[in-house]
């Protein structure tokens, strides 16, 4: 056996086998062993379309444009060829869009929302949409310009945003003042002082009402001893006494109300959020309480004839 001949023979056989295998591989890759599937696109313009541009499904190339031309009516007809194995991605619900990125070659994009839809028949004609980014660009630039103009208008020197910010500055400045949040809500230290003053006055009134109640208690006990020392008066005045007791109860209720109002007032100074409303209500209730106390004292004066001089003075 000739070693040299064997080696050359081995080399030749191996090369031929590899070459043949590569040829078969190439034929397979180019779809020689399977059928093809034709599609025609009807387009309004053949811009950017050229034979050889890929047709891609989900970014994967499944076919290519083979030729393009005009039909008898002057419309554009673009022919594309697919391998039979890729025809399953083409359904009747598929849309075909020509994508022309700013950088890179154009391609036809296939979108198939429903893969269970009926298959597209061979040689059918479909519509080719265009989504040309470069043609949308001017419109986009116009819109961005308008937005930027608006922003510029808003942020100009005497614009609304600047005024608002200045107002916010004033409010926060007031918050750091003597009356804090109250001042920031009411607008000036004077008004805030008026609110705190009225709270002070209410407190003083309530203290006085307390004193009145104590004195009334003292008078009532005096009257008791005096009445029951001499007969007749008690019987005469029993009815009126009962009424006085009722009135005293009323007064006590009013005082309790005033107490609650006091608590509310404390809340108000702590919780300024509901402050303004509460202050109005407080004012009304204080007025009401004062009026009731006045009426009570008048009643007592009417029913208590022994002492003309009222000891209680209302603020």
């Amino acid at each position: 056996m000739n070693k040299l001949h064997f080696k050359v023979g081995l080399f030749a056989v191996a090369s031929l086998l590899l070459g043949g295998a590569f040829l078969v591989y190439l034929l397979h890759a180019r779809g020689f062993f399977e059928g093809t599937f034709q599609l025609q696109f009807a387009a309004s313009s053949a811009d950017n379309v050229a034979p050889g541009i890929p047709v891609a499904f989900s970014g994967i190339e499944i076919g290519r444009v083979t030729s393009l031309g005009l039909n008898d009516e002057g419309g554009i007809i673009i022919h594309a060829r697919f391998l039979q194995r890729n025809a399953k991605w083409l359904k009747e619900s598929s849309t075909f869009t020509l994508d022309k990125p700013i950088v890179g070659g154009a391609k036809i994009r296939v979108d198939t929302p429903d893969l269970n839809a009926p298959a597209l028949p061979d040689n059918s004609t479909v519509l080719l949409l265009t989504s040309d980014i470069s043609s949308e660009l001017p419109a986009l630039v116009e819109r961005v310009k308008a937005i930027l103009d608006n922003v510029e208008h808003l942020t100009r020197k005497d614009g609304e945003i600047n005024t608002t910010l200045a107002n916010v500055q004033t409010v926060t400045g007031r918050m750091t003042g003597e009356y804090g949040m109250l001042e920031s809500i009411l607008g000036s230290p004077e008004k805030a002082r008026a609110v705190t003053d009225s709270l002070e006055q209410t407190r003083a009134l309530i203290i006085k009402l307390d004193g009145l109640a104590l004195k009334m208690d003292g008078m009532a006990s005096k009257a008791d001893t005096w009445l029951f020392a001499e007969d007749g008066v008690a019987a005469q005045t029993r009815e009126s006494l009962a009424q006085v007791r009722l009135m005293l109860n009323d007064a006590q209720a009013s005082l309790q109300k005033a107490d609650a109002m006091m608590a509310n007032a404390v809340d108000i100074s702590a919780n300024v959020k509901e402050g303004t409303q509460d202050i109005a209500a407080l004012r009304a209730e204080i007025d009401d309480a004062v009026r009731k106390a006045n009426a009570l004292i008048n009643e007592i004066n009417k029913k208590w004839p022994f002492k003309r001089d009222p000891e209680v003075k209302l603020p």
Partner: protein, 264 residues
Amino acid sequence: MHFLATSIESLGAKLAGWFTVGYALFAFLGRAALLLLEPSTWNRATFDVVIKQVYFTAVQILPVFLAYVLVISWLIITIILSTARDFGLTEFASEMAIRVLVLELLPFLTALFIALRSGSAINTEVALMQVNNELDALVHCKVPPMQFEFMPRLVGGVVSVVTLAGLAGLLALIVGYLAIYGVGTAGFEPYTRTVSNIINFNIMAGLIAKCALFGLAVTLIPVTAGLETPKKLFMVPVSVLRGMMRVFFAIVTIEVVSLALKYI
């Protein structure tokens, strides 16, 4: 005026020299081709010489050559891939790698490889035979040198460059697949698509024709350069120098013309 006349004269002489060389080259090629077509050429003896030539030109260097192709393919593919990744052009990387390696660089390097190794040897051998009157002796012994010395070398050169470039291309395709997709069959579909996009039958035929021309250039030019050698021993190195320069220019010209035909 005299200077102009002499320069024109020297240009004319050079052109005439090139024409002579070119004519000799193509005349020799024509004779070899005619011989190739003759049925009587293909006897056992001629076959033996052709097989020997293929052995010495292709089979002997195969391991070294394939190792060299492996290293250079792997390096160039890696460089192309990482550069493409840096510029965000990964989708074009495999196509770029295949085009650069399989279609251009590897055939060119194969031709250079054969030219440096076998072409220079052929040139020296033929020049020495010419100087030592061995060719005349062969003719005298009714052993036509064209049939038993030159034509087998041309066939061996063409066969060797075509097969070696083909093997190198296949190896580069495999290395490219492994470098891009790793071991596994996941990338087979996209890689097949890329390969089919690049290599159509025109490209394939062009590649084979280019390799055959390379093979012819690296053997035919050294043979004719050797035959031109004046019968003086000290002219042998000059003959090899001239022959190798012509081989180099021929290889570059073939490459440039093929690129121009393909891309312009």
